[in-house]
């Protein structure tokens, strides 16, 4: 503290300028890793958006801008990584989270000292054969295993009822035990078109951690999606917008000729699930105002959809 008090304004400016120059230079040279530790001293940005690289490079850059994985995962903690593995589709379709991204996230978790990293999702039609196909065909099972992640079928654990007093409709629901028992919950959705909910991003991805997703459909899909976020917000949301399914979502077309995928090569990171959904919606090319569950989430103060009010760090490679 005394050190700071000693430095006068001019020196501060000088230092700031030189630091900026170094940082800028490093960015130009593409060597930014050594800077990232220092950036954590400043407050963590509300949202980080990175683009124009492969999924692993995108994540490395984005998490360093967030202050490193150590901000989210502490030594000895158990982590649950929840990608979107809802459909038995190949990674090229864009209906499931990018396997390389999942692998990179798990590696970072272990580097930050995680004890165990679980990966699971409750498939949309959860018969065991269908769920097995989802894990296999999406490439996520193999990718996660390669990084040492523990890939668990959703039905290998029980579900426990939780109460959500502040909810408008979904006042209670049954939640997967891994979510309840893990220290850190990382939500890794894929941004994709959804024929019956407009878009599927981070908030909607949480339908894969409850036992009875059809309850949402029955009682009001958009409101239930928002209500659930009142119960537990993920510690970190990582939106995969690398390969974006632009139509025929959420499962994608069955004939390859009708496949409409855009390589946006973008990754979004945020603690704020509403903000990250709003930002992803814009990346998709839609208006967050049109997505009912985002609006509900904002109204219920789950997060902030007004991106202008947020501290956003963007980075294009």
């Amino acid at each position: 503290m005394t050190e700071v008090q000693k430095t006068d304004r001019r020196e501060f400016l000088k230092k700031g300028l030189s630091l900026g120059l170094v940082a800028g230079g490093a960015v130009i040279l593409g060597k930014t890793d050594f800077l990232s530790a220092k950036e954590t001293v400043t407050a963590m940005p509300d949202l980080v958006a990175v683009k124009n690289a492969e999924p692993d490079a995108l994540f490395k850059k984005a998490i360093s801008l967030m202050g490193g994985m150590g901000q989210f995962v502490k030594k000895g903690q158990t982590v649950v990584v929840k990608p979107n593995i809802g459909f038995p589709r190949k990674p090229e379709i864009g209906a499931t989270t990018n396997p390389l991204l999942v692998k990179t996230i798990i590696e970072h978790c272990y580097k930050a000292g995680a004890k165990k990293v679980y990966v699971f999702d409750n498939a949309v039609l959860p018969t065991s054969s269908n769920a097995r196909n989802c894990y296999k065909i999406s490439g996520i099972e193999d990718a996660a295993n390669a990084a040492g992640g523990i890939v668990a079928p959703a039905d290998d654990f029980g579900y426990k009822e939780v109460k959500i007093p502040a909810a408008r409709i979904l006042t209670k629901t049954d939640v997967h035990e891994l979510i309840l028992n893990s220290d850190v919950f990382i939500n890794v959705p894929v941004l994709k078109h959804h024929r019956s909910a407009h878009l599927s991003i981070a908030m909607k991805n949480l339908m894969g951690i409850v036992n009875n997703r059809m309850e949402y459909h029955l009682r009001g899909l958009d409101q239930c999606i928002a209500d659930f976020c009142l119960y537990r917000k993920p510690d970190l949301n990582i939106v995969d917008a690398y390969r974006v399914l632009m139509s025929h979502g959420p499962s994608g077309p069955r004939d390859e000729a009708s496949l409409q995928v855009e390589l946006k090569k973008t990754l979004l990171l945020s603690r704020d699930i509403v903000a990250v959904d709003a930002a992803a919606t814009k990346i998709f090319g839609k208006d967050p105002e049109d997505i009912q569950y985002i609006k509900f989430g904002h109204e219920q103060k789950i997060g902030n959809m007004n991106l202008k009010e947020l501290k956003i760090v963007t980075y294009a490679m």
Partner: protein, 511 residues
């Protein structure tokens, strides 16, 4: 060379393979089905009548030739129900429940009547009686009804145990088995158990139509077990071990039509009075021969059935299923309700092999002429778009094997959206559970003030039932109605295409 040991070895191997066929799951079933099932009499016969296929023709001809040369070895070496009975008989002896077999009178009128009646009902378009009695199908039902749940429970217990070591596997689901089917199978099973535990191979020689038919053939077989009347001391050792109860020591005679070629008597006879050798006319003929008459009737009935099966109009006339108002949905590859009900022997191999457990047994849903035959049960599950296993395992041709790309366009039924019940139309809020899971783009959504309303375009629908399974309302707002004759769906191609993704890298963010 000990024929008994060879028989036990072969039959144990075959029975083990049968257990794997029914309990091993999709891939193992697909692998074993074409190896084991061409050598099962009823499936091979039905397959040839439905659509002659070389593998099954070879199988049936092999069975017939073997029977003509060696007698009813089929019953002791290949028939799964025969092996099941043999093990019960062995247990019965071990436990002291059964001390010795004795000679039994043949129930000729009963067995030939059952054979004749079975032929007639099949010819007239009902598989019901055959399905109840066919030893292969009955074995299949017994293994599926009782073995399948058991193996699934054991497997899942193993999965649960491994969980504690952080090793995760997907657990399995027990296929849905209606109580009526469990009861019917249990009844048949108990009947066979009691008959075999007390009277040996009584089922095979009185009820089983395959046993009766092969018995007729084995009467004229080249190799026979022959008892030399001049050498026999009437020690009764052979009679005691004869499971078929066909050795009459008093008359010093072996009933060839009932001998199942277990060869127990060969081993038991210390004096080598009984020999297994080629014999032409060595046997003393009975004066009264109902078996001969039965043989002629059988041949005539077989010829008639061949003629009539090809003329399916006659079979349809007596088939009650087609007349039902909302008949069940039959698996893809079964062509039509009429085809399926006239070819399925209800062995439940498809029930066992179906990965999504959507094929479930039914009791009365096909009417009285289609008892036990399975159906597509969309209350329980849905048909996996990327799967065609049922056709690959079905031995009778009730479900033909379709290439996957072809199967994806077979419309076994058609959806109907009931807008009066649909949440989106009633509550004006998003749901879309049906559209999420539809693999064929049958369900589209119309955006009206940011609410997405489902609409159906049934030309693409294949009736897989995923939407019906997913629909959260009760009763369902979207249901599949069966196509009595399967149709071909239109291949979906997206109308509008997006331009190819831009190559140049854009550095801007929309916020």
């Amino acid at each position: 060379m000990n024929l008994v040991k060879i028989r036990i070895a072969i039959s144990l191997l075959v029975f083990t393979l049968f257990l794997f066929l029914f309990l091993g799951g999709g891939k193992i079933s697909v692998f074993l089905s074409p190896i084991l099932l061409p050598l099962q009499f009823v499936p091979a016969l039905i397959r040839i009548l439905i659509q002659p296929e070389i593998l099954f023709m070879i199988g049936l001809i092999t069975i017939l030739i073997i029977s003509l040369i060696f007698g009813r070895v089929y019953c002791s070496f290949l028939c799964p129900l025969g092996m099941l009975q043999d093990s019960v008989i062995a247990l019965s002896f071990k436990s002291g429940l059964l001390r010795k077999h004795i000679y039994q009178r043949p129930y000729n009128w009963l067995r030939y009547s059952i054979l004749g009646l079975t032929f007639i009902t099949v010819v007239l378009g009902s598989m019901s009686l055959l399905n109840f009695l066919d030893p292969y199908s009955l074995s299949g039902r017994i293994i599926t009804n009782f073995g399948k749940p058991l193996t699934v429970w054991i497997f899942n217990a193993g999965v649960d145990l491994l969980k504690y070591f952080n090793i995760y596997f997907f657990s399995k689901e027990v296929p849905y088995l209606p109580l009526s089917i469990l009861a019917a199978t249990f009844g048949c099973f108990i009947l066979v158990l009691i008959m075999s535990a007390k009277y040996g191979r009584l089922y095979c020689n009185t009820i089983c139509p395959v046993g009766t038919l092969l018995g007729l053939i084995s009467r004229i077989s080249i190799f026979k077990l022959v008892l030399d009347q001049n050498k026999c001391y009437e020690c009764v050792r052979c009679e005691i071990v004869c499971k078929a109860g066909c050795i009459d020591q008093q008359k010093k005679n072996i009933d060839q039509s009932r001998c199942v070629n277990c060869f127990n008597c060969l081993a038991a006879c210390s004096q080598s009075v009984i020999v297994y050798s080629p014999s032409f006319g060595k046997i003393k003929k009975n004066e009264w021969s109902p078996a001969r008459r039965g043989f002629l009737v059988g041949i005539l009935a077989a010829a008639g059935s061949v003629f009539l099966t090809f003329n399916s109009n006659i079979r349809n006339l007596f088939n009650t299923t087609a007349a039902k108002e909302s008949p069940p949905i039959t698996p893809p590859g079964s062509l039509s309700l009429a085809h399926f009900t006239q070819a399925c022997t209800a062995c439940y191999l498809c029930v066992s092999a179906c990965p999504t457990n959507v094929i479930t047994p039914s009791f009365l849903e096909y009417g009285i002429t289609g008892l036990l035959q399975p159906l597509m049960n969309y209350h329980k599950s849905f048909c996996d778009y990327e799967c065609n296993i049922c056709g690959k395992v079905c031995p009778t041709g009730a479900i033909f094997s379709l290439p996957l790309e072809e199967k994806k366009l077979i419309q076994i039924g058609e959806v109907k959206l009931v807008k009066e019940k649909c949440i989106v139309y009633v509550d004006k809020q998003n749901c879309g559970a049906c559209g999420e899971v539809c693999p064929t783009h049958t369900i589209n959504f119309i955006n009206k003030s940011n609410v997405l309303y489902p609409e159906t375009d049934t030309q693409y629908c294949i009736g897989c039932g995923a939407c019906e399974k997913a629909c959260p309302t009760s009763p369902k707002s979207i249901v599949v109605r069966s196509n009595s004759i399967h149709k071909k769906a239109v291949q979906y191609i997206a109308a509008a295409k997006l331009p190819q993704p831009k190559k140049e890298t854009n550095k801007d963010f929309p916020f």
